[in-house]
Symmetry: C2
């Protein structure tokens, strides 16, 4: 098991445009082993749909609205990472990051305030090509938490999947 507690900050969510991408970001955070996700924008539908997944599929992942992302980042007890295609390759910073006890990882929507580059401890890239904050977060968590997505158990789940070669097995 890996000892790092990871939290996610979704920055700059726009309710109409980012609804589905932000849902994917939140569910990826949960499935890959993050403790919870903060949004600087409140979006009732999105929050309810993530909370609905938690209540059906188990575990204690949280989704929370915060009023100041700056104070969250600045006052976070641990290291803060901003995922951006402009940052340093994750592979170069893995050793340092794996020593952390708590990480807050920020994934922005299309435009982020420039200040996030300044106040984060690390700006980290998953490749330097345009792709997806969902992909970047997944690979960051997969590597930092050593494949926790393949091991994590979710308590009090009402639905569980039994892996199978064909079709769908649920219990």
């Amino acid at each position: 098991m890996n000892g790092v507690d990871v939290y996610v900050l979704r920055l700059g969510h726009r309710a109409e445009r980012d609804k589905r991408i932000s849902t994917h970001v939140a569910l990826t955070a949960r499935a890959f082993g993050a403790k919870g996700i903060f949004f600087d924008v409140f979006d009732r539908n999105l929050f309810e749909s993530v909370e609905d997944v938690v209540s059906r599929w188990g575990g204690d992942f949280f989704i929370r609205h915060i009023h100041s992302w700056r104070s969250l980042v600045k006052n976070f007890e641990g290291k803060t990472v901003h995922l951006t295609m402009y940052g340093m390759p994750l592979t170069e910073k893995m050793e340092e990051l794996k020593k952390c006890e708590r990480i807050l990882v920020t994934v922005g929507a299309e435009k982020v305030p420039p200040e996030i580059y300044e106040i984060s401890d690390y700006n980290i890239s998953i490749g330097t090509q345009p792709h997806s904050e969902v992909a970047a977060l997944a690979v960051f968590l997969d590597r930092i938490l050593n494949g926790e997505v393949f091991r994590k158990e979710f308590e009090n789940a009402r639905t569980r999947i039994i892996p199978s070669n064909r079709g769908k097995k649920i219990c």
Copy 2:
């Protein structure tokens, strides 16, 4: 370098609803080292926006509309993988898959025809929790292609990023 050539099939794209998720799927495929992506639905805006990224950021990634996904999967020369939360964990099939020379990996939108479970050589899961086809594809490619996203060079790029600790450096 890894010798596997990977192609992606995006199944069941719905132009309005999936526009942004499918764009993320396509750009993730490109950035993480797949050769190209097939869609069973033609969506001019989406195709043009992916082709625009290719022309600015380089490389020879293709996006192509096919009329029959069944015949693509059935006649593919290589192994076919369907990514689904109901499948067998990737970790259990890694050794087999890494021996392949060519892989076609299918990522479905919300509902996929049950037939895809039957005609694919493998049904593979990246965890058994609901999350994101973008996340699943990213981790599949990252692991199968051994972190190609951190190494891949794109020829004839008009834009390139120089990784940096702070801010944005472009050349």
